[in-house]
C-alpha cells in the first residue's frame, strides 16, 4: 500500500510537473489580476529573460533593500524620437559629468549588430553654463530599425581614461509606444493626485533615490 501510495504521488507530481510552467504562468497571471502587491514577491514575468535564456536558471526572492556600489561619474541619458515628416529616427544623448567639469570628451556610436562605428569618433567640450552637459545626436533611418547602439564617452582626468557607456535598442514598436506615452504625460495632475501616485508607485527593485 505504501509503495502504491508513493508511486501514485510520484505520478501526480510528474503530471503536475509537466504542466508546471502552464500552471505557474496561469497562477501568476491570475495573481496579477488580483492586484496583489509586488512588494512581497517578484513574479516569474519580472525575472530577467536574458539570464534565463543564457542559463536556463532563475531564482525567486522577496523584494529587498539593496546596498549598491556608487554609480558612474559620467552620466548618459538617451532618448529617441521620430519626427512625423521625416523618414529617420533622431537619437539624442545627454552627457553630463561634474567630475569632468569643463573637460573635452570624445564619444562614438557603435552598432551592436556588427561592431561597426555608426558615426566617426567625435570630440566636444562639456558646457559649463549648462551644468557640465553636452548633447549629441545621430539619425537612424527607418530601414535601419531595429537598431542596437552603444555610445561610448571618454575623457582624460589626472592622466587616466574616465568614461561611461550606454546601450540602447530602438524598435519601431517602441517609437509608437513612446509617442503615445508622451501625449499621455502632457496632462497636469493635481498636487493631491501627484503625491498619491508617487507614494503608491510599486517600489521598483531599486528603491527610489
Amino acid at each position: 500500500m505504501k509503495k502504491r501510495s508513493v508511486s501514485k504521488n510520484k505520478k501526480i507530481c510528474r503530471i503536475l510537473k509537466s504542466y508546471h510552467a502552464i500552471i505557474v504562468l496561469a497562477a501568476f497571471t491570475l495573481l496579477s489580476f488580483t492586484n496583489i502587491s509586488h512588494e512581497t514577491t517578484i513574479n516569474a514575468e519580472s525575472m530577467s529573460s536574458r539570464y534565463i535564456a543564457s542559463t536556463g536558471e532563475q531564482v525567486h526572492s522577496n523584494t529587498f533593500i539593496d546596498l549598491q556600489k556608487p554609480r558612474q561619474s559620467v552620466f548618459i541619458n538617451t532618448s529617441y524620437e521620430k519626427l512625423s515628416d521625416q523618414n529617420h529616427v533622431r537619437v539624442l544623448a545627454q552627457i553630463n559629468s561634474q567630475i569632468l567639469s569643463n573637460k573635452t570628451i570624445r564619444y562614438q556610436w557603435t552598432s551592436l549588430e556588427n561592431s561597426q562605428l555608426v558615426s566617426d569618433p567625435v570630440s566636444g567640450a562639456l558646457d559649463l553654463s549648462n551644468n557640465n552637459e553636452i548633447q549629441v545626436e545621430i539619425a537612424i533611418t527607418d530601414n535601419q530599425l531595429p537598431a542596437k547602439l552603444r555610445l561610448q564617452v571618454f575623457s582624460i582626468l589626472n592622466g587616466k581614461q574616465i568614461g561611461s557607456i550606454k546601450e540602447i535598442t530602438i524598435n519601431a514598436e517602441d517609437i509608437k509606444a513612446s509617442s503615445q506615452q508622451r501625449v499621455k504625460a502632457q496632462g497636469v495632475l493635481s498636487k493631491e493626485e501627484a503625491i498619491r501616485q508617487e507614494l503608491n508607485a510599486a517600489p521598483s527593485w531599486q528603491p527610489r533615490q
Partner: protein, 590 residues
Amino acid sequence: MKRKSAIRIFAGSAVLFLAACSSSKSSSGSSTSQEKPYCNQTFSYSTFHTITGHAQYERRLHTVCGLGDVDPTTYPIRYAEIQIFDHTGSLVQCAETDGSGNFSFKVPDDNQTYSIAINSRSYNALNKTSVLKDPVSNEPYSLTTNFISDADKSLATLTATANEAGDFNIPGGAFNILDNTFKANDFLTNHSGGSFNVTAKLRAYWKRGINPVTYFGGNPSQGVSFYVPGSNNLYILGGIDGDIGVNDTDHFDDSIILHEFGHFVEDNYSVSSSPGGTHYGRYIIDPRLAWSEGFATFFQAAVLGQPFYQDTFGHDNSTAATLVSSCGASTGYFFDYNIETNVSAMDVPTTLGEGNFREFAITRFLWDAIDSASGEAGDAIQIDFTDLFNVYTSGFKNGEHFQDMGLFLREQALVGPNISSLYSKSDALMRASRADFAASDNPATIKNPASPSCQYTIQAQDNASDWKENGSFAKSNQFASNDFYYLQHPGGPLSVNLSYVVSGNADLDLYVYKDNYTYGSASSLLSYSARPSMGSPSLDNGLENINVFAPAGIYMVNVQYYTGNPRNGSGAPFSSTTYTIKINGSLICH
C-alpha cells in the same frame, strides 16, 4: 470581492501544491542546490605519501586606460579549501592553502590516482567566505588536477587564470574576490582592539558575463554589484549579457568588492537602517543611505590602505607603460576618485550639517580621521580605525534607530579621541548631532508657540542644478526641504499638528513614517496630511493634522516643503516660512 478571493485561493493552492512535490525547485523548474559542506576533516593513514604544491591566481592590471592586460605578477590563493578524492570520487582528505598559497596533505601510499580540487571557499578563523557561481547551483570555483600516490611529491602550480584564452570562466575573478574577503577580515582582526572575530559567513555570488541584478528581475543592462541586508549574500558584477570586454565588471575592482564587503560588516557587526537604492555621490540623499554607503567606501579605502575608489569597465591589453593617448575605447574608469584630494570635487557640501547627507563627504571625513595628520591642510587628526570601529559596533549600534553620520559622530564624541576639528573642514561640514535628522521628540517645557525655541524655519532648495525640486519625493532635498523628528510612541492615539505661516509659495506637508522607512513610499507611511494648496491662500490655512491610532513603536515625523507650486520666475528661490509642531498636544521645541 468574492470573486477576487476565490482567485487568490486558487492561485495560492497551485503554487503550494507544486511546492510539496519538489521544494528545491524554482517555478521555472530548474533545481536549486544547497551549498555542499566545507571540507574540514583530517583523515589519518598508517602508510602515506605527502603531497605538496602551490596555488595562485591572476588578475588584470589597473592602468591609465582602465582594466588592462593580465598582471604578470601572480597572487597566492590564501586559506582556501582543498578536497582530495580517490578514483571512485570518494573524499579521502581535506586541507587548506596557507598564507603563501602553499599546501601539504597526506594520502594513502597505494599507487592509485587521486584528484585535488582547490575551491573558492574558506571556512576558518581567518576567513569565512564562499565565492559561488550562482544562487541556483551554489557551486564554488575549483582548480583541479590529478596525481598518482606513488611517492612524496610536489605538484605543478595550479593557477586560476584571468585570461579568457586560458579559461573561458576566468576563475581568477573568483579567487580575487575570495582574497579580498580575507584581506578585509584580516584588516578587521588587526584594527579592532581584539573585539573582532571572524564569525559570520559570507556568500559571494559571481559569474563571468552575468549581471547579478538579473537574478531578481532588475534591469539587465544596468550593471551593479550589491549586498542584500540580512542575507549574508553579496553579488559581484561579472559583466553584462555575457560580455566582459566592453561592459562593466567588478571582479578585479577591489574597491567595489570591499565596498560591498563593508555592507556585510555593517549588517553583521554594526547595524544599518539604510533604505538602500541608487546613489551617485553627487546629490544630497537620505542620510541613512549616505552613512551606509559613505562608510562602505571608506572601509574599502581603509582595508586597501590607499585613498582611492576605482571602478572600471571592459578591459584591453594595456600595461603599466601604456600612454593614455594610446588607450582604446573598450575600457575606462567609471570612477577613479581620490578620496584625499577630492580632485574634481564630488559631494561637496555648502552648509554646516549638509555633509551628513552626502556619501562621499562622509567617506572623506572618515578617511581624514585615520590618515596622516600632516598630509592635508585642516587635517591635524590621526586616529586608528579601531577607534571608529569600536563606536561603530557599540554605542552607535545599541538601542538606536535611524543610524546616520550625526548619530555616529555624537557617539564618537562621547568616547573620543576628539576629532571635532574635522567637522568644519570645507569638504565635510558635519554636525555631531541629530539636529538635522531624527531630532528628538522630547516635548519641551516651553508651551508658548511664539517662543523662538519652538519655531522652526524652513526654505526649500534645489538639490543640484541638474536635480531640481519639482514636487516629487525623488528630488526633494532631504537636508534643506525637510525636517525629521524621531518619535517614540507608547501606543494609542497619536496626533501630530503642524502649523505654518502661509507665505509666497511655501506649502508644508506632514508625514509620519514607520521605522526603517523608505522616503516617499506609501508602504512606509503610518499616515500623512498633504492638503492641496497649489499656492492658493484660499485653499491653504497653514495647517496639517494627523490623528491616528498607532501601535507602540518608533516613527519618524517628517515636515516636507512641497515644491510643486510655481516659483515666482524661473529659478527663483522658494519662499521661507516658519512652523510649529505639536505631538499629542505638546510643542516640540529646540
